[in-house]
Symmetry: C2
Subunit: 186 residues, 2 copies
DNA sequence: GTCTATACGAAGATAGAC
DNA sequence: GTCTATCTTCGTATAGAC
């Protein structure tokens, strides 16, 4: 199938960006990892590496936003947040703290701010919707969702640098308290 | 002076990493920006680019930790946090949202986890000391300091992607509330 | 659509003179 | 300590056949 090779390349790119970053990941790496045919890169991605990176950012954004929505429970305001954090925790542990967020890598290394902002926004929206359903006001929910995304992305960086999960544990503990208070208050 | 050229190169590297990242910054860029002599790179940095990056990370870590300590006020628990956030805010605005944290760039792109972890830890220690002085318990202060560093680093990324200061504003609002409660509680 | 071969440029690192 | 010149590696992108 034609679009199958493209899909595999996008997923491999997202995977490889996590460990090696954008500049550190060559097309040949993506080919080798995905098993996609060599000659079809510029057929599927006429815009070159940037177009591949943009697709990888979009893929990661969609994937995690869907995960957050699926984990949302009206009676448990922190369930979705735990799912979100759990995903990053697994990325860190599975990679022995070598991997992080592919979107962060792309944001830092290339000029794909728009795609990155879209992905971050989808995560915030999904998290905020869950907080509203659990009782928070819309304004407060949006602010808390921003804090969750920022703190978890930052904590993932700290975990990667320090090669331990403590920062993520510390952050989630504080966030859960804060969210409990915000959802009870209204 | 001999060490003057070295110092200039380190500062320029830290500056350039913020916008272009580690791989995106060539030695020639550092030379051009710092005005340092071409032929002395490998004299000052025998370990090559990685040694330069490590020095840049250390420099940034020291610089900001000192800034946090200088802004610490025993009677105002959020003064140091505001100084910390204010620094990133200026970086974002001055660069028109093109620049971020050089240590994040190095963490994502190279394998200098140790130096990055040191820098993050110094920031956390400086912030935690201020929170303890303002009345928080040591354990809680450490946890909050981790949250502050993670959330601010993450928010800086979100600001850069979205090209606006809203994420940083949202994050600092929540953090100030949380810190006020933690310091009053004891 | 997929292949191979290659052009082209960039950048890190080294050698050796001054 | 600082210079210039160069080596070498690598990776994007293109050209053109199948």
């Amino acid at each position: 199938m034609a679009s199958d090779a493209r899909e595999r390349m996008v997923r491999s790119a997202a995977y490889l960006f996590r460990e090696r970053g954008f500049s550190g990941t060559a097309f040949s790496d993506v080919i080798a990892h995905s098993g996609a045919p060599r000659g079809s890169i510029y057929h599927h991605f006429p815009g070159g590496k940037l177009e591949l990176a943009e697709a990888a950012v979009r893929y990661t954004g969609d994937f995690l936003a869907a995960g957050v929505r699926a984990a949302t429970r009206d009676d448990d305001p922190v369930a979705a947040v735990r799912a979100f954090v759990g995903w990053w925790r697994r990325v860190l542990v599975k990679s022995d703290f070598q991997a992080g967020c592919p979107i962060v890598a792309v944001t830092v290394e290339s000029q794909l701010a728009e795609a990155a902002a879209d992905a971050f926004r989808r995560w915030q929206d999904a998290l905020a919707a869950g907080l509203v359903a659990a009782g928070a006001t819309p304004v407060r929910a949006a602010r808390l969702a921003t804090l969750v995304v920022a703190a978890v992305e930052g904590a993932t960086l700290l975990c990667r640098a320090g090669r331990c999960l403590d920062p993520l544990d510390d952050v989630i503990a504080e966030l859960e308290d804060l969210i409990g208070i915000a959802c009870d208050a209204s």
